[in-house]
């Protein structure tokens, strides 16, 4: 097992004829992902790396029985892409772009709940279940199959962690790029239950950062988990009131969203706190992984 994506994933790439879409379609196919269709308005009938292209998600889904989509379109069109996939009945949608307006994501978030779809991202590398499938743009060479599930707001901190884990011989069940935005389609508390009930996941690494309240909510859920959690909070020394590039990473002047508060709550909930990505393999080893 694993969560979200695996050998049964039948993936659509929205924006498949774009530079990024084409490049990463090839990467995903190479990794063994079943990319069954692509979508670009006006390019129906083409084919990209052998994958048939359709004008709309509905046609692509009807023709191929796709059950997931990855949205490789620019930020300003990301919400429209997600809506199209949701209305076509796609149950799992990965959004990738950085800099999606937060009002757009507010609409996507509430619509996804209404229509019963799971949206991952934006500002995310996507989802990878190492050795099985990937939907996104992560550099897959550093990932390895194994028992640890990872949820991360940051792509680069996740890469660092995975790289260190793989070198230490610790593999991953599924890694999810939750994304660095103020309103992600799915938050830590939406995803932790999936890892908790995944029989192939033995422990969870949660890579959070300053800003917002998602780590605080995660702490409440972690209290009742049977699986151990190792957590890292990035941005302890970020200047107050200044956005750090991730729209979501900002500490208010009153200290809301601070790293200290998040670490305290997570520690009280039973999570082990890593001070840097390099500490994570050692902490996992200590848990018997």
């Amino acid at each position: 097992m694993s969560i979200l994506v695996d050998g049964g994933t039948r993936l659509i790439v929205q924006g498949i004829t774009g530079r990024e879409g084409t490049f990463h379609t090839e990467q995903m196919l190479t990794y063994g992902t079943r990319v069954v269709a692509g979508v670009t308005p006006g390019k129906g009938g083409m084919s990209v790396h052998g994958v048939p292209v359709y004008d709309t998600v509905r046609e692509a889904a009807e023709a191929t029985g796709a059950n997931a989509s990855v949205v490789f379109v620019p930020a300003r069109f990301t919400a429209a892409g997600a809506y199209e996939a949701m209305e076509a009945g796609i149950p799992l949608i990965m959004t990738i772009a950085e800099h999606v307006p937060v009002h757009d994501m507010m609409g996507v978030y509430h619509t996804a709940r209404r229509l019963g779809a799971t949206v991952i991202g934006p500002n995310s590398f996507g989802v990878i279940s190492p050795g099985r499938a990937k939907a996104g743009f992560m550099a897959h060479a550093i990932f390895s199959p194994g028992p640890v599930g990872i949820l991360s707001r940051s792509a680069t901190n996740c890469y660092e962690t995975v790289y260190a884990m793989t070198r230490s011989g610790i593999g991953q069940s599924t890694c999810v790029g939750v994304g660095g935005d103020m309103i992600p389609g799915s938050t830590f508390v939406d995803l932790l239950p999936l890892l908790e009930s995944d029989p192939e996941t033995s422990a969870v690494v949660l890579i959070g950062e300053i800003g917002g309240g998602e780590e605080e909510l995660a702490a409440r859920y972690i209290v009742g988990m049977t699986k151990k959690v190792v957590a890292l909070i990035a941005g302890k020394n970020a200047p107050t009131g200044r956005s750090m590039g991730h729209a979501g990473a900002i500490v208010s002047a009153d200290g809301t969203g601070s790293a200290a508060r998040k670490e305290e709550l997570l520690r009280d909930a039973g999570a082990l706190i890593a001070q840097s990505t390099e500490d994570i393999p050692g902490l996992l080893r200590g848990l018997g992984i």
Binding site: A139, S154, A155, E160, M182, I183, E214, A234, G245, S276
Partner: protein, 381 residues
């Protein structure tokens, strides 16, 4: 980005909220042409994107033209919490019977807009929430339903406020229009003056607009471009980099290719007592050309004493990174400031070989080794 009071009031007015009449000047010389439009007694207010300007002397009253000129001369050029006042707003003084507080902000946890109301306005809302929590109401707005008449009734009755629900509803609806139309994460009116006749006037305002939506907010973008800013921020923006000024007394500059990595670098350096002056996020897909621009931009700041480059590629090619560093340093012979580079990704071996031939550049294998290398040079930082 945070808008100053006068800009916030312009957007309020555009959506039909009464925010009073006012003029903005950048030099006392502009007064002569505008004096006929200014009602006395007048208020002169420093325009800065931070709070606390009243206590800092940035707000003053003027009974006549002469006083007005004096107040403008003394406030323009003043520094308030690090911001030099380059413009003031002049308005007529409003007599009010009560001062309320009203805002709409994006609640990240609820993932929806939330309105906050209090009949105890004119002070910091956090303060009212501590001293008189029963006088503060908080109400989530369903984005599918928008503002409804019962919202205004609830805000008034639940806080024990006396006022006309229709008047509050009208301002709340229009404030929600501002929130949606301008892609805001915060719209705040404080105080919202209640006049003796019962009408509501926005006496002060604050708006935060989502930076990611500026592409569809031409009016806000034009305003941003009119502000005097850190020249390094402007230079970085022209190359589509994100430049984050950190510690003005810091000496280490950090360059990386993702905001998570930047935060990790700043954390690791700060933990060892090193002070980060600025960080530059290259974003994804960094080519040699962009790396070179980033390096040049950070080294153009003479108070940068060392540069730490940390790139976790994946699909970024390390030889591209190395060529970028080489290209930038070739244009500054004899610069001498240490450049520490760490990268992971494709063509790492070729990249390391290129770096080995650049004087003053040291390659390290990981983030912590990079921090160690900077600590060794602590005396020069």
């Amino acid at each position: 980005m945070d808008l100053m009071e006068y800009k916030a009031k312009e957007l309020f007015t555009a959506c039909g909220i009464d925010a009073g009449q006012g003029v903005v000047i950048r030099s006392p010389a502009e007064l002569d042409a505008l004096i006929a439009d200014i009602p006395f007694p007048a208020v002169v207010k420093a325009q800065v994107p931070v709070g606390g300007r009243g206590k800092a002397g940035g707000i003053a009253f003027a009974a006549n033209t002469e006083e007005l000129r004096e107040r403008c001369v003394s406030i323009l050029g003043m520094t308030i919490r690090g911001h030099v006042v380059d413009r003031v707003l002049i308005t007529g003084r409003v007599e009010c019977a009560a001062e309320w507080y009203l805002s709409i902000l994006l609640d990240r946890t609820a993932k929806r807009p939330v309105t906050i109301f209090s009949p105890e306005g004119g002070v910091d809302i956090e303060q009212t929430a501590r001293t008189a929590p029963e006088r503060v109401a908080r109400l989530a707005i369903d984005p599918l339903l928008g503002v409804r008449d019962y919202h205004a009734r609830y805000l008034l009755t639940s806080t024990g406020a006396h006022g006309d629900p229709a008047a509050l509803l009208s301002v709340l609806r229009r404030l929600y229009d501002v929130f949606i139309r301008y892609d805001c994460t915060l719209c705040e009116i404080n105080p919202l003056a209640v006049t003796a006749g019962g009408s509501l006037i926005a006496l002060d305002g604050k708006i935060t607009v989502d930076d990611n939506a500026l592409f569809r907010q031409p009016e806000v973008t034009a305003y941003r471009d009119s502000l005097a800013e850190d020249p390094f921020v402007l230079a970085a923006r022209s190359f589509n980099f994100l430049y984050i000024p950190c510690d003005a007394a810091g000496s280490v500059a950090v360059m990386s290719n993702g905001s998570g990595m930047i935060m990790s670098c700043i954390d690791s350096l700060s933990d060892r007592g090193l002070r980060v002056r600025a960080a530059l996020d290259l974003g994804g897909g960094a080519t040699a050309d962009r790396i070179a621009r980033g390096v040049s931009l950070l080294l153009d700041d003479e108070r940068t004493r060392a540069l730490f480059i940390n790139i976790f590629g994946g699909i970024t090619r390390c030889d591209e990174v190395a060529r970028g560093v080489a290209g930038a340093l070739a244009k500054r012979p004899g610069d001498g400031r240490p450049v520490i580079v760490r990268f992971e990704g494709t063509n790492k071996r070729e990249g390391v070989a290129i770096l080995g031939e650049i004087p003053g550049v040291r390659y390290v294998e990981g983030l912590s080794q990079g921090v160690d290398a900077l600590c060794e040079r602590r005396s020069a930082l």
